[in-house]
């Protein structure tokens, strides 16, 4: 095919903007992985993907269920009688059985302390599509949404790109374990008002990505009171709700609402509360694009439902999930076992890191740890953080995510995913970290381009720069676009297609 000339002027501002976010370093690590992906037998020296928050620990449980329930697929002999009706079903309300099953599942994940109404369940193209739709419903272009840092990098794209909504960071610090303080909240709000930005709401991720921590009830109540006082919305992305593996117990915004709603002293307006959910993390099914928008506001439900036409869940998938999620015995067993496996993997990992003198933020949920390497920085700057990150990719051959990509205000933090690999790979990752730390205890023999010598740190950790740090393949100019998708692919998946 003839190479066609580009005509920049012909595309929209949205199309030519950078807000898709793919030029962030967040994706450069994936590119490094894409070019040299680890494989246990075929490429044991490749880069191990630890930048991908996927839950692969319990898929075998689902596989076993699928094998025993051929009726759940409309393509099997047992399920085909449903094929025509399901293939034809495009009602944006969604299959009733599916909504009922999701509502029940969400309730179970919250220990049945709250019940969800199937008629408030609205579909979205993954949580990605659901959160964008919610922004379209709640905010006009130029309006702002408060969001605590550090936060999921793709929020920049999902909440802002086509909606033209602004993100207003609420700064959180390690001094209090990155918890949201009332001062930080008020400060962010006031700054926005002073800049003439209309604040439409607050979005939190609970359990947090990247922190892996859950919010306590008091903090949630404080937030509820705040949003009611300011008459703004609260959006709670609870996508990691079932990845809790330790105390404290998960407290959902729905529980807090339930408690405060009936308190005459609270004056809480449920119409301001909305939840984003998905099965991508809790069940490990990101490919199925199951995004859920749950709102206590009738108008939002109605509007969002119409918008869901732009991102409906395949009826084939709705049918399958209705089937598996209505199997209460399976669901209970799955949630319990998944939690145990996450706990075990988390423990193995954090203990392994501790042996090397590396600490992580204490966490009880999520598919990752928030690792503290700030002591390894020569200077507390983000340039140093990037250098360290590139070193980790090139020398340790691990793709981890630098804190700056999460808008963290303190350099030196890294998100490291642990649930997207098998036990052997996790072992190898830990061994590599060990080897790296040990090696840094010895003098580097190769003449580095930059004759820097490390300072000594606690426990004899020393950092030196190898010449490979300046290897062109790792120093990608932000403008160069990789021919490969920066989109995640699991190291276990030989994506030959």
């Amino acid at each position: 095919m003839v190479i066609l000339r580009e005509n920049q002027a012909l595309l929209s501002k949205i199309a030519t903007s950078d807000q898709h976010g793919e030029n962030s370093p967040y994706f450069d690590g994936w590119k490094a992985y894409d070019q040299d992906p680890f494989h246990l037998t075929e490429n044991p020296n490749g880069v191990i993907q630890m930048g991908l928050a996927e839950n692969q620990l319990s898929l075998d449980l689902i596989e076993k269920w699928v094998a025993k329930h051929p009726k759940s697929s409309i393509c099997t002999k047992d399920g085909i009688s449903q094929f025509k009706e399901i293939a034809n079903f495009q009602d944006y309300h969604g299959l009733y059985e599916f909504r009922k099953a999701i509502a029940k599942f969400m309730g179970k994940v919250r220990g049945n302390r709250v019940a969800f109404d199937p008629d408030r369940i609205v579909m979205g193209g993954g949580a990605t599509g659901a959160s964008e739709s919610l922004m379209f419903c709640l905010a006009d272009p130029g309006d702002g949404f408060l969001v605590p840092t550090p936060y999921y990098p793709a929020f920049g794209r999902d909440l802002r790109w086509r909606t033209r909504v602004q993100l207003l960071p609420i700064i959180c610090n390690s001094s209090n374990d990155f918890k949201i303080t009332k001062e930080a909240l008020e400060s962010a709000y006031e700054n926005a008002i002073a800049s003439n930005i209309k604040v439409k709401g607050l979005i939190i991720t609970n359990p947090s990505n990247p922190l892996g921590t859950t919010m306590d009830k008091e903090t949630l109540k404080t937030l509820m009171r705040f949003i009611n006082e300011k008459n703004i919305h609260i959006v709670c992305d609870e996508i990691y709700a079932a990845t809790i593996f330790n105390t404290p117990e998960f407290v959902s915004i729905s529980e807090v609402l339930q408690e405060m709603e009936h308190d005459p002293m609270s004056l809480i307006n449920p119409g301001l509360v909305h939840i984003i959910y998905s099965l991508s993390k809790d069940m490990g099914l990101p490919g199925f694009r199951v995004g859920i928008l749950y709102s206590y506001n009738d108008n939002v439900v109605s509007s969002a439902r119409k918008m869901s036409s732009f991102g409906l869940i395949s009826s084939q998938t709705q049918y399958f999930l209705a089937s598996i999620l209505s199997d209460e015995e399976f669901v209970e067993g799955f949630l319990s076992e998944s939690s145990k496996r996450l706990a075990k993997r988390h423990k193995t990992f954090t203990q392994g890191l501790e042996k090397e003198g590396i600490t992580c933020l204490a966490s009880n949920a999520g598919l990752f740890v928030w690792m503290d390497l700030h002591r390894l920085l020569k200077k507390p700057t983000f340039d140093e953080e990037m250098d360290l990150w590139r070193l980790i990719i090139s020398d340790v051959k691990l793709n981890v995510s630098p804190g700056s990509s999460f808008q963290c205000v303190e350099p030196g933090w890294f998100r490291v995913c642990f649930a997207n690999m098998d036990d052997q790979t996790a072992e190898i990752a830990l061994k590599r970290i060990h080897a790296f730390v040990v090696k840094k205890g010895r003098r580097n023999e190769r003449a580095p381009m930059n004759n820097k010598r490390s300072k000594s740190f606690q426990k004899n950790l020393r950092l030196s720069f190898s010449s490979r740090l300046y290897d062109e393949t790792n120093m990608m100019s932000p403008r160069v676009m990789s021919p490969h998708s920066p989109f995640p692919r699991s190291p276990l998946v030989q994506a030959k297609t």
């Binding site: 066609l4 012909l10 929209s12 393509c75 293939a87 034809n88 993954g126 490919g287 199925f288 395949s314």
Partner: protein, 481 residues
């Protein structure tokens, strides 16, 4: 359910409170009537027959037959081992095997007259998403897309609602079978400019919904020349390309571009979907095919908001790469649709109703203009209401498609059994008979109404000397009740 929520004043966005989702149009009122009283052969034989839904249900048996003989390929694979890979796959490039299968299917639908490169296929959850996504990429809020009338009512929502882009109609008239003319193109363009709107592109549906007819090669060439001259985009929604009754009657924009050696093709984009040709609207399978590299890259990134379930990609990859199956399917599907079309057009003719000469799609474009009480939108809606209430048929009025002439209706024929179609035709026949017989009396009072004379006016005008005339008029008016 919920308690009554009092909305705070700083409540929702402008988009959320606007009516641009279009659901308050008559297009949907008919569906409500159907929902409340749906026809069923046995359980509700006098219910409303749904003829407003462009669904293809005539070839499901072929799909079921395929699934039954290819279970392993379409389930999760041997011993469910494919499940994991499938469930984890969320790459916005889409499954390569599926993209290859789509490209090949699109080629087959065009009888091999155009080639498609799997690397230019961007997957979206339905054509609804594809059209919106392209609009976000090609136009800024306030800009205009030119769309020939009559057009698919859903465009009002898909192209405008969240994007803030405007639709400026390219008016097409019945006098030349609603074909797009260069004059109409220029006129629409000028009209947009006069309203200070920047025109970003032309969006055509080929074969056309609601006309049920393909766009002629000559017209496509003219449209392509027009967009090139104006340096704007051309989006060709070819969602009904596999529903053309005779394969040689469809010319895709892809063929024209190929014949021009892809000169100036970077302004062209094709939208496709499996909802109509394969009858799988529930699976949400849409695609944007662009000849513009930057559009492909951007569309791919945007598709993150609307990816196709990997479970569905996997199933369809295997089905659509089976060339023997797809050849057979395309051929038989065409024949069955043609047969249905002939059945409905003949049946309507017998009832005294003419249709636009069509050659594609899941519907016919029926002309009831000779039967309107007044050649206006009101007249059209009046007869449409009668269709719903008396004849118990839900059909789509041309006004919901922005048709400039009154009295045209889109009538779907592929979403029901042949028996149901016969029932519908019979009902129509009876209605037309009744109407023809009752027409005479009706005309007189209509005349009186149109001239807006009240009884008092008439009396005053004619005075005492016209006592007889007055009493004649009075009696005719009361008869029409």
């Amino acid at each position: 359910m919920a308690i009554e929520i009092v909305q705070p004043s700083v409540g929702l966005s402008k988009i959320a409170v606007s009516e641009t989702h279009g659901e308050n149009s008559p297009y949907f009122a008919g569906w409500k009537a159907y929902d409340e009283n749906p026809y069923h052969e046995k359980h509700n034989p006098s219910g409303v027959i749904q003829m407003g839904l462009a669904e293809n249900q005539v070839s499901f048996d072929l799909l079921e037959e395929y699934l039954e003989s290819n279970q392993e390929a379409t389930s999760w694979g041997k011993n469910v081992s494919g499940f994991r890979e499938n469930a984890l796959f969320q790459d916005y490039h889409g499954l390569l095997a599926f993209r290859k299968a789509m490209a090949s299917f699109m080629e087959q639908v065009r009888g091999g007259k155009a080639k498609f490169n799997p690397e230019r296929i961007v997957l979206t959850a339905g054509a609804t998403a594809a059209n919106e996504l392209l609009t976000f990429i090609l136009a800024n809020p306030g800009d205009a897309l030119l769309v020939p009338t009559p057009y698919y009512p859903g465009f009002d929502r898909d192209l405008r609602w969240r994007t803030g882009v405007q639709i400026v109609p390219i008016h097409c008239e019945s006098s030349n079978n609603f074909q797009i003319t260069p004059e109409a193109l220029e006129s629409a363009y000028d009209h947009a400019r006069s309203m200070n709107m920047k025109v970003r592109g032309v969006l055509i549906t080929n074969p056309s919904n609601p006309l049920g007819a393909t766009i002629q090669r000559k017209v496509l060439e003219q449209i392509l020349d027009f967009v090139t001259r104006k340096n704007i985009h051309l989006v060709s929604d070819e969602i009904y390309s596999g529903s053309v009754f005779h394969s040689d009657e469809f010319v895709s924009i892809a063929e024209i571009l190929e014949s021009r050696n892809y000169k100036d093709s970077e302004r062209c984009h094709i939208v496709y979907s499996l909802s109509k040709d394969l009858g799988l609207p529930g699976f949400r399978v849409g695609t944007v095919y662009s000849y513009n590299d930057q559009v492909v890259t951007t569309a791919r990134r945007m598709s993150s908001f609307t990816l196709i379930s990997s479970q569905t990609q996997f199933l369809l990859a295997s089905m659509l790469s089976n060339k023997e199956f797809t050849e057979k399917y395309i051929k038989i599907n065409r024949e069955r649709l043609r047969k249905r079309y002939e059945m409905i057009v003949d049946g309507l003719k017998k009832a005294g109703i003419e249709c636009l000469k069509g050659n594609a799609g899941l519907f016919c474009w029926m002309n009831l203009s000779p039967y309107l009480n007044e050649a206006t939108r009101e007249g059209e809606l009046e007869i449409w209401k009668k269709m719903m209430e008396e004849v118990k048929l839900n059909i789509s009025p041309g006004s919901s498609c922005r048709c400039s002439g009154a009295g045209w209706f889109r009538v779907c024929f592929a979403n029901m059994s042949e028996e149901t179609l016969e029932v519908a035709l019979r009902r129509l026949h009876e209605f037309m008979d009744r109407r023809r017989n009752g027409q005479k009396t009706h005309d007189l009072s209509a005349l009186a109404q149109v001239q807006s004379f009240s009884l008092g006016d008439i009396c005053r005008l004619f005075g005492e000397r016209s006592k007889d005339l007055k009493s004649d008029l009075i009696s005719s008016l009361s008869d029409s009740r």
